[in-house]
């Protein structure tokens, strides 16, 4: 699926986009508008340092520390700042708690706003017309495509990120994890669960945490 999806997304790229970007970068470097070393450092940052592991650490902390969880739900920006994960496109955060009775899901219908500092850059599907158009009118259908058939008695809350607030879903802690420490729990937390399109599966018995 990965390859075909990528092909689908990129099949219409003009053959020269890569060359056009190179040409523009060269121009901007020549004019002294950008520093190539800074560009490399930025790529490295977003490829390797900023990503859903940050969000997972927040979630694991909230699962294991009731005071932190209360703080996160009351003032997410302050609670996330404590862990050092506020930043560009995640300046003002709201945390949404998923429970057995309430399920939250996040979208940006108008563009593709996404909490970069805690989740990294958004996946292609989050930016797709399909997700942006359907998440508000057919969220249960979208969730089914992610394998989550939400019972009718669960209240579904959609959050459309139309302003400068960014949303982090605090997923339900799965069963069978009482013995796990914060670090092991963080390894269970998926990006998609923090957008609200998946639940976190219980760890398989005997599997490495």
């Amino acid at each position: 699926m990965g390859a075909s999806d990528r092909d689908h997304q990129h099949q219409t790229v003009p053959p020269d986009i890569s060359l056009r970007v190179k040409s523009l970068e060269s121009l901007l470097v020549e004019k002294g508008l950008v520093d190539p070393a800074a560009l490399d450092a930025l790529v490295d940052t977003y490829e390797n340092k900023v990503g859903p592991r940050n969000g997972a650490r927040i979630v694991a902390r909230a699962w294991t520390d009731a005071a932190y969880k209360a703080h996160l739900l009351a003032d997410a920006s302050a609670a996330i700042a404590e862990l050092g994960f506020l930043g560009s496109q995640g300046e003002h955060m709201v945390a949404l708690e998923n429970t057995a009775a309430v399920h939250n899901i996040v979208v940006c219908t108008l563009c593709s706003c996404y909490p970069w500092p805690v989740l990294g850059l958004p996946p292609v599907w989050y930016k797709s017309s399909a997700y942006r158009s359907r998440a508000v009118i057919d969220p249960r259908g979208v969730l089914r495509e992610f394998g989550l058939d939400l019972p009718g008695d669960v209240e579904l809350r959609v959050w459309d990120s139309t302003a400068e607030l960014r949303y982090l879903v605090l997923p339900e802690r799965p069963a069978g994890t009482a013995h796990m420490d914060e670090e092991a729990l963080a390894d269970l937390v998926t990006r998609n669960s923090m957008i609200g399109v998946e639940k976190i599966a219980a760890p398989r018995p005997g599997a490495q945490p």
Partner: protein
């Protein structure tokens, strides 16, 4: 503007297709477009609302056809030219015009962590800008159809909801995108019943929240 970017509630866009083990960038040029935009952004020649409006102005058939980072590339080129940082001739040739001065980049390696951690978007609880609405109040999203930038989606216009959270004071996109000032005002998470937005076929207890500015709302 009522552009095709305002696609909340549209049908016909196909299934959502998640990709397993998706890389941050699928091709190197995507990463370069992203970081060029961020590094040029450090010159502060435009704000986030200018930037979004430029993406929205991509012609609709093109907007739907091209990828996310192709849109970013289109925007970057247009904004560089519009702000006079480069000329179209320079973009076409890939080399600076003869005799042009070499500047010092606004962003150096040492500045990268600060850029990533920067909280560029100003918010405040400025008491001199009181909220126009109170939590729990019923409000209607106004029926605005500006040709310029707006962050009030069509699917919410004319619909009635409840103020759920007061997020504090933020710049107003409809003016801020067009050089008409930040016109700072309160932003609220407004909760709309799914049935109010989509009619009786929607599940009775589901809801959609939108973050809406004072100027988008009226008492209901």
């Amino acid at each position: 503007m009522n552009g095709v970017h305002d696609m909340g509630g549209m049908h016909g866009m196909g299934p959502v297709e998640p990709e397993i083990d998706e890389p941050v960038f699928h091709q190197a040029w995507e990463g370069r477009v992203f970081v060029l935009t961020r590094a040029i952004g450090a010159w502060r020649k435009w704000n986030i609302d200018n930037g979004r409006f430029h993406i929205e102005q991509i012609p609709p058939a093109e907007y739907l056809r091209i990828s996310y980072y192709e849109k970013w590339f289109t925007r970057l080129v247009e904004l560089l030219i519009e702000t006079g940082m480069v000329s179209r001739d320079e973009v076409d040739s890939g080399v600076p015009a003869a005799g042009s001065e070499k500047l010092t980049p606004a962003l150096r390696v040492a500045g990268v962590p600060a850029l990533v951690l920067n909280r560029n978007i100003a918010s405040s609880q400025d008491p001199s800008i009181p909220p126009q609405f109170a939590i729990g109040q019923r409000v209607r999203a106004r029926n605005l159809n500006p040709e310029g930038h707006t962050r009030l989606p069509r699917y919410a216009r004319g619909r009635t909801g409840v103020i759920h959270l007061d997020h504090g004071v933020y710049d107003f996109p409809d003016t801020n995108a067009h050089g008409l000032g930040p016109k700072r005002q309160h932003v609220y998470a407004v909760r709309f019943a799914a049935r109010e937005l989509w009619g009786e076929q929607a599940p009775p207890r589901d809801c959609v929240h939108l973050d809406l500015w004072d100027d988008y709302l009226e008492p209901a």
